[in-house]
Structures are given as structure tokens and as C-alpha cells.
């Protein structure tokens, strides 16, 4: 066993903040000056008191976010910039039982894809079967809810593509740090047109074998969109961390450090992880927004 093993003593020597700083912002800012844009839209009426989605409000939110991201006023025009009528479009959803991608969201995306000229039979929506059903697609829309995840810190858009792999468990080592590698698979690479990270009812702390506890879910009533899966996850992470601070009254570290987000930039060049290089555009309802 080498004497160079990193131990608790080494961490005691250097404060955690210093260690993290050594690994990320300034260095990255110099080496990768790339920036990313993320749009956050919220609406206080998107959910009723029972948590049911108001579909019209949801569509308004999606339209507002996508038009802002693409930079055109008309939502259908915006979707036409994302996909071509000739595309075979895969919507990578998420079926995790306690907090799935809602059907209403899938339907809103389907509608806008069809409005943009994609034929219904050329739209595929799947999660667990993505490796076979979505692999032939020429364009992908990546959509899922943000939540804490026991193994990777948070579950977001980067992680959502793990179902394109033959053996998801092989990505578990080191807090799933290599998740971004999935995005280099031929079934995925270069195909993603939009990342939608849902924050309608995020989970900010989990327990038990299903990592679920309804006490730690709240109605944030928002969604993030971006071309950049790393940037959108970085914003999702900030939201989760802010909620944990608010709820627990202090910084309670995630069960697993979400290093896969930083590694997605540093090791794989997938996108921007440093919040200082992410332009967050906030639309709609501002109450308890938690992030600036």
C-alpha cells in the first residue's frame, strides 16, 4: 500500500473548500472559457393542491422556456429550430416510480414536436428500453425530474442517458464519476437537441431502499431547459443544495458528492459545470426561487 493514499488526515489538513477550489473554478475558467445558457421558468398555478398538473399552464411554461433558449418568439418556430420534420425523435423520459417524468410533460413535448412537423409515428418516448428503441433516433429530447440520488449525488439530465448502456452498474464506481462517458456512445453522441430538467416537485433528500421520502419533496413548480446537460444539472444541483440549506438550517452534504457533474466538464468536455459561467435566465414566478 502506497504512502500516497488520501486519508482522513489529509482532508483534515486542507479544508474541504480549499480542496474543491483547487479542482475547479479558476483553472477551468482559464482552460475552458465556454459559457452556457440555462432557462428556469416557474408558474405558481402549474400544480393544484393535490399535485395534479394543469396542462395548459405547463405548455405555457415549456413554450416560454424554449423560446427564450432558442431566441425566437414563436414556440413552434423554436421547436422547428430544434428538430426537422424528417427526424426520428426519441424522448428520453424517466419512469422512476416515485417521481417519474409526468405523462403531461411527455404529451406536451410530443405535441410541440408534431407542431414542428415531426410525424407522430416518428416520435418515440421511452426510458428503460432506450438502448433499443431510441438508439436509431436522429434527434433526442432529454427530460426528467431533478432529485437527490444515493449513488451519484443528484439524478439529472447527464445521468438520464444511463439506460443507453449495456451495463448501467458499471458506471457506479467513484460516485458515478464517469457518467458523461455515456454521452459518447454512438446511440447518443451529438443527437441531443434539448435538455429539460423538471423541478415541479423535486426530491431534496432520500431514505431507504427506494431513496424516497415524501417529507422531502416540495412543490417548486419549475423547469430548467438548456442545450447543455451539464449546465442544466449544475443549476439543478444548486437548487437542491439551496433547499437542503433552507430545510435543515445548515449545509448538509449530499450522501454522495455529485462529482460526475464537474467531471462531465473536466474529463469529458460535455458542457459547463461552473455556475459562474452559466447564464441563468429566470422567467415567471419568483417566490421562494432559492437560486440567483
Amino acid at each position: 500500500m502506497s504512502e500516497l493514499v488520501l486519508t482522513r488526515r489529509d482532508l483534515l489538513k486542507a479544508t474541504a473548500g480549499a480542496a474543491v477550489a483547487a479542482l475547479t473554478p479558476e483553472v477551468l475558467a482559464q482552460e475552458r472559457p465556454k459559457r452556457a445558457k440555462v432557462v428556469l421558468v416557474r408558474h405558481k398555478d402549474v400544480l393544484d393542491t393535490q399535485g395534479k398538473i394543469h396542462e395548459n399552464v405547463l405548455m405555457e411554461m415549456l413554450d416560454a422556456a424554449v423560446t427564450e433558449l432558442v431566441g425566437v418568439k414563436n414556440p413552434i418556430e423554436a421547436w422547428k429550430r430544434l428538430v426537422k420534420p424528417s427526424d426520428l425523435v426519441g424522448v428520453k423520459s424517466n419512469v422512476w416510480n416515485p417521481l417519474p417524468t409526468p405523462k403531461e410533460v411527455e404529451q406536451a413535448i410530443r405535441k410541440r414536436l408534431m407542431d414542428a412537423g415531426v410525424r407522430e409515428e416518428n416520435i418515440r418516448i421511452d426510458d428503460r428500453g432506450a438502448r433499443s428503441t431510441l438508439a436509431p433516433c436522429t434527434a433526442l429530447i432529454n427530460v426528467r425530474p431533478v432529485r437527490t440520488h444515493w449513488w451519484s449525488g443528484i439524478g439529472g439530465c447527464i445521468k438520464n442517458y444511463i439506460m443507453f448502456t449495456e451495463n448501467p452498474a458499471s458506471y457506479h464506481p467513484d460516485a458515478c464519476s464517469s457518467l458523461a462517458k455515456v454521452w459518447e456512445l454512438p446511440a447518443v453522441k451529438g443527437k441531443t437537441r434539448l435538455n429539460i430538467l423538471l423541478a415541479l416537485t423535486p426530491l431534496f433528500h432520500g431514505r431507504g431502499p427506494h431513496h424516497w421520502d415524501p417529507r422531502y419533496v416540495w412543490q417548486y413548480k419549475g423547469l430548467f431547459v438548456s442545450y447543455d446537460p451539464v449546465a442544466v444539472d449544475a443549476m439543478g444541483l444548486r437548487l437542491i443544495q439551496a433547499k437542503r440549506r433552507q430545510h435543515f438550517g445548515e449545509d448538509v452534504a449530499l450522501e454522495t458528492p455529485p462529482t460526475h457533474i464537474r467531471d462531465a466538464e473536466v474529463k469529458y468536455g460535455l458542457g459547463v459545470s461552473d455556475p459562474r459561467r452559466i447564464d441563468l435566465v429566470k422567467l415567471g414566478w419568483k417566490e421562494d426561487i432559492l437560486i440567483s
Partner: protein, 296 residues
């Protein structure tokens, strides 16, 4: 003979209609929630199909199988029952000790309830009952189901023997962690990025927390299959962690607290974060390790 054959066939049919694969009896109904007689089952290879990456935790405790069953009632949240066969009572206790949160529910050999989730262990089984949404009605049903399940497990299991070695004074009993895998240990108390304790599925480890005034002192015991394994662990731990204190078995660490370690036979004991050198060494002396254990 024919009649006997029919009786046997009927008995078999009945068993198959019942939870034939389940390790013990599961109620069909509790407070109006119905179980429809089928459970999904997963082993240590297929566990990820059911609970994603968290499956790694169960594998780190040598999980054999899980049965996932659902109880449903109109206009009420579904209850999910997960029965984990951990192979041994030590590992059932271990997975229970990994994540304690909630109030003691007095079920099985150890339990807690909070947020619509009951967790308990008994014998080699770890059982979790979860409601998608919590309500008083769901809570009552969960606790009732838990009590019935615990009663249906015929035997009790022996908790990890290492627990007996822990000194009682100042021990936070509800915070004891049993572990075998460095990943589990590091989740609770980061020791090193690599396994410097020579852990394996056959080692048994206990991490206990003691309060000494305001100070929080950790005592770790690891018992190895053979003394040679413990010697190897001592060598790697003392080299990587004790460093300048290796010869004496005690060192003041960078937080101005003290770490001391000692090997006795196939058991390695380590005290972390004691306020003084004397306290660290006293804690090692107070371990209730028998001579029989040392020479075993």
C-alpha cells in the same frame, strides 16, 4: 396412494398459490390494503433492475435476494413491502444500521419508523415497508403489517458478536454501524480513499460513536477471518494513517485530536478523534475482548 397423490398435489398447488418463494408468511390483507399474491424477486445480480444504484449498498452486505410486494387500497397510497434476505443476522443488522432515522417502532429485533417508512430486522431478514404518501391510515397499516410480518419470522438472529466488545460508557447505541465494505465505512466516517483496512465480505467491522463531554470519539473494531489478515491490515493502516506514530500505535492528527490503534489476535481496534492521547489509549484498554477471542 392416488388419494395421497391428490392431497400432495393440492397442497403443492396451495403452496404455489401462496407466496411459494417467500421465506415466510405474508398477510393477504391489512387494514383494507390487499396483496394480490405475487411479488417480484431479485438477486444480487439483478437488484439494479429494481432499486438502481442503491443496490450496491445491499451487495456490500452480502444480500441474497429481495422480494418486492405491493399492497393496494382504493383511494389510498400503495404500500411497498421489500423483504431482503441478507443471508445472516449480522448482515441484516448491518443493513439496518446503515441508515437509521425515525422513531423506534418496537418491531422485530430493531426498527424505526418515519415519513411513511418502517424498517426492521429479524433473524436474517431486513424488511422495509414504504407508503408513497404518508397518512395516519397508512401509518397504522404499515405498523400493523410490520408486526404481523415480524411475528411470522420464526427465529431471532444473533447480532454481530463484536457489539459485545464495545465499552458501554458513553456509547451511542443507536449510532452503531456494522460494515464489511470500505464504501459503507466511508459513507459514515471517511478513513481513506483506498481500502487500507484490508476489508472483505468475510470481515466484520463495527464503528461506534462515543460522547466524551462535547467531543465525539469514534471506536472502530474489525475482526478478520485469520490473524494474518489482521496483521496485513495493521501494516497498511499504520503506514498510511498512523505514519509518524506507527511505532507507538498512537498519533496526534491534523485536527489536534488523537488516533490510536492496536491489534489483538485477528481483531484490529482503532480510536479516532480522542481529545487526548491518554483517552485514546484508555479506550483501547477498555475494550471487552476476551483472551479466548484473542487466541482464537
Amino acid at each position: 396412494m392416488w388419494l395421497l397423490g391428490c392431497v400432495i398435489t393440492l397442497m403443492m398447488a396451495n403452496v404455489q398459490g401462496q407466496p411459494s418463494e417467500l421465506p415466510f408468511s405474508v398477510p393477504r390483507e391489512v387494514n383494507g390494503w390487499q396483496w394480490h399474491g405475487k411479488c417480484d424477486t431479485y438477486d444480487s445480480q439483478t437488484i439494479f433492475d429494481y432499486i438502481d444504484g442503491i443496490g450496491e449498498i445491499y451487495r456490500a452486505y452480502n444480500m441474497r435476494r429481495v422480494w418486492a410486494c405491493r399492497y393496494e387500497k382504493a383511494d389510498s397510497p400503495t404500500l411497498t413491502l421489500d423483504i431482503f434476505d441478507m443471508g445472516t443476522a449480522e448482515d441484516a443488522f448491518g443493513i439496518f444500521s446503515f441508515e437509521r432515522d425515525g422513531e423506534d417502532a418496537g418491531i422485530g429485533q430493531g426498527s424505526d419508523y418515519g415519513g411513511g417508512m418502517l424498517r426492521f430486522w429479524k433473524d436474517r431478514y431486513f424488511v422495509v415497508i414504504t407508503a408513497q404518501e404518508e397518512s395516519n391510515e397508512a401509518r397504522n397499516a404499515i405498523l400493523q403489517l410490520g408486526r404481523q410480518l415480524a411475528a411470522g419470522i420464526p427465529r431471532t438472529g444473533k447480532p454481530p458478536e463484536l457489539l459485545q466488545f464495545l465499552p458501554a460508557e458513553g456509547l451511542q447505541r443507536e449510532r452503531i454501524l456494522f460494515f464489511r465494505h470500505p464504501m459503507i465505512l466511508n459513507r459514515h466516517f471517511f478513513v481513506a480513499e483506498k481500502d487500507i483496512l484490508n476489508l472483505s465480505p468475510k470481515t466484520e467491522g463495527v464503528l461506534a460513536t462515543y460522547l466524551s463531554g462535547k467531543a465525539k470519539v469514534r471506536l472502530m473494531l474489525v475482526r478478520y477471518p485469520a490473524e494474518a489478515d489482521a496483521v496485513r491490515a495493521w501494516n497498511t493502516f499504520s503506514q498510511a494513517y498512523l505514519r509518524e506514530g506507527r511505532q507507538k500505535g498512537v498519533v496526534q492528527t491534523e485536527n489536534k485530536k488523537w488516533t490510536a490503534a492496536r491489534r489483538q489476535g485477528r481483531t484490529l481496534a482503532i480510536v479516532f478523534d480522542a481529545p487526548s492521547q491518554r483517552q485514546a489509549q484508555q479506550m483501547l484498554q477498555s475494550l471487552r475482548i476476551t483472551q479466548q477471542e484473542v487466541s482464537r
